[in-house]
Amino acid sequence: MGQLNIAVIIKLEPDFSEGNVSYNPDGTLNRAETKNTLGPHSAIAAHAAFFGKVMYDAKVSIGTMGPPIADLALQQAQQISDAEELHLYSDRIFAGADTLGTAEVLKTGIHKMKEKMDIVFSGHRASDGETGQTGPQTAWKLGFTFLGNVISYTVDMETRTLRAKRLISLQGTPNIIEEIEAPLPVFISIDPTYKSSFDKVSQRLAFHKYQKEAAERADNYKDYFTMFNAKELGVDETLVGLPGSPTIVYKVERVPKSTATRKAEVVDGSDPEQIKKVVARMKEALDAMVIK
């Protein structure tokens, strides 16, 4: 019945809330002027790790690849998950990486954590970028079973297996909740609708105890923090950063049809001629390509 070791990989992202976000004249994000914060999906992953802490007295570690200021995200994640190990993987050569290059860094970083991991959590996606690829790619490189869209989980500490419920949304079919069982270690990409549930008084009290501990630790996060550059991490330089990234951003253009607030054409509902014109416009809209 050994220790349960949990890692969370997180991301520092722009804070999109009003009052914190800044936009350029062309409507694009002004990153320089926008505050950064722990990404919302990363935060949910941290909550999922905290569930493991409360229920199974797990040890939680957190890792992120980013610039030196990403230690803010680590501190915030520690506050949520009561983590005892914070890793920042930061080096110029990591820059420009696509998800494959990032996954290589994270995989190497997770191997450098003190304990051998039983569960690694990641958020469903980043709120900027939004590919949702980094999690599964890191999982594959680690050789862990990948489970996506997890909405709840429990661990059988005796048999070292995990049971989880996943939410599967496919187009054209109703949503499915799938219950699965897998031996540890696993990599879980947590669904945005994940909810921790603590049903017993004793669990609620433990929750509170660890929450307090988390706040104290986060206040002194530097005691738990290590930063690694490429050399210290021991990465293969051809597999990280731009050199290790198959994909690049080629260009960025304005979307042809803007979905900002509209100017309405007012039409008399009793005039059949005008109705005809409206329906013609409706048809045009249905024929055009959707931009989501």
């Binding site: 054209g172 499915i176 050199p243 253009e253």
Partner: protein, 394 residues
């Protein structure tokens, strides 16, 4: 080296013996792309559908009619439910299996190593599957794509080309909308031609947003190859057990339809009749019916069947319910409360029907039809019958 990578592989998703619409949409777009490609480059590369599952042999044949030139299927009881590990392993095996690749196009059997391009669906399954497959294949993936172009690209890039000008032939330009909704980012998966760390990266892959591309029509006269793939299965890859699957009953589907017709408290005068009008309008446009939050509280007495069907929280569009980006959104008798507007403002074309010109919805729509819905909707229905024919979706 040029003929190491040929063809476009499309990973098919299916549920209960039916193709998910996105699978066919991908085949349709793949067909279009490769027809252009073959004409532009005087080539004969193929659209190849890849399908894993159990008892799928017969179904897989239909893919030829929708536009595939070949279907590689793998039929095994272990593949009944999609489990990431085993599916990733097998798809990766298929993508690297020179024998299968050779069968598709015998002329290039000796040289061909992998597909040139690969498509997945951008849904719960495909997003993750594409990520792990491309990690196994050590190549590039762009996700949530809604436009594709194949071109020769001339460029110089510090890392990719070492600063020299290079021409990347037959490159797949993958367009994805960014999070702000204002920008379109184009992603390329390119070989490293930088002498410091040369590498090839194929297949160029992407996951495609459902509902973006047209559903193709089936042409039974089309012919193609059906190839069975027998995988190498390692029991280590089968350790995930699916204990059960529960369908969350939701009558309401706001994802698939391109049109949503919502009603609000404007039905007040004749609730029963007005709801039926809205129903009819939605039917004409093959759309789904949504409601505003107050309606879910059942404020007006109507027949219990209509009540149970429409005045339910599951139909709410807004902050307490669903967010939609339907192409056509019709708001009938909706005043335009902020919570509701939040749920529908990303729609493509918005039509509001309301007798009150001061209703806030006027600032959130493209056409404001001034009038009562009981008068306007019948006129609309008539006109729609004349002008618009909606193709039935699968």
């Amino acid at each position: 080296m040029a003929e190491q990578f040929r063809h476009l592989y499309v990973v098919i998703e299916h549920e209960d013996g039916e193709f998910l619409p996105v699978s066919l949409e991908m085949i349709g777009e793949a067909r279009r792309l490769m027809d252009d490609f073959n004409s532009k480059y005087s080539s004969k590369e193929k659209v190849v559908a890849v399908m894993l599952g159990h008892n799928i042999q017969d179904t897989s044949k239909q893919l030829i009619g929708y536009g595939a030139d070949a279907v590689i299927y793998c039929d095994n009881p272990e593949l009944k439910d999609v489990r990431n590990t085993i599916h990733t392993k097998i798809i990766s095996q298929i993508a690297q299996d020179t024998e299968t690749l050779g069968e598709i196009e015998v002329e290039y059997a000796i040289d061909i190593q992998r597909p040139r391009y690969m498509f997945f669906a951008a849904d719960s399954i495909g997003r993750h599957l594409s990520s792990t497959v491309l990690t196994e294949l050590e190549s590039g993936l762009a996700s949530d794509i809604n436009q594709l172009v194949i071109e020769d690209i001339e460029m110089s890039h510090q890392q990719k080309t070492g600063g020299k000008k290079e021409t990347y032939e037959k490159t797949l330009e993958m367009y994805r909308p960014d999070f702000s909704g204002f920008l379109w980012t184009t992603i390329l998966c390119l070989d490293n031609r930088n002498p410091a760390f040369p590498r090839y990266y194929h297949p160029q892959s992407c996951s495609i947003i459902p509902g973006v591309f047209e559903l193709p029509k089936s042409d039974s006269s089309r012919e193609g190859k059906i190839i069975e793939f027998v995988p190498t299965i390692d029991t280590e890859d089968l350790r995930v057990k699916v204990l059960g699957r529960e369908i969350i009953e939701s009558e309401v589907d706001f994802e698939t339809p391109r049109t949503i017709v919502s009603f609000g408290r404007g039905i007040k005068e004749e609730p029963e009749q007005n709801i039926k009008l809205v129903e009819q309008l939605a039917k004409e446009l093959n759309g789904e019916v949504g409601i505003t939050l107050p309606i879910s509280k059942k404020p007006y007495p109507i027949s219990s069947s209509l009540d149970a069907k429409y005045m339910i929280p599951d139909r709410v569009i807004g902050t307490s319910g669903h967010k939609t980006s339907a192409m056509l959104y019709i708001a009938a008798g909706v005043s335009g409360a902020m919570q509701h507007v939040w749920g529908m403002k990303d729609s493509g074309f918005v039509v509001a029907i309301n007798p009150d010109e001061d209703a806030p919805i006027k600032d959130e729509c493209d056409v404001f039809i001034k009038g009562r819905m009981e008068d306007v909707i019948p006129l609309l229905i008539e006109e729609i019958k004349k002008q618009i024919q909606i193709v039935e979706t699968v």
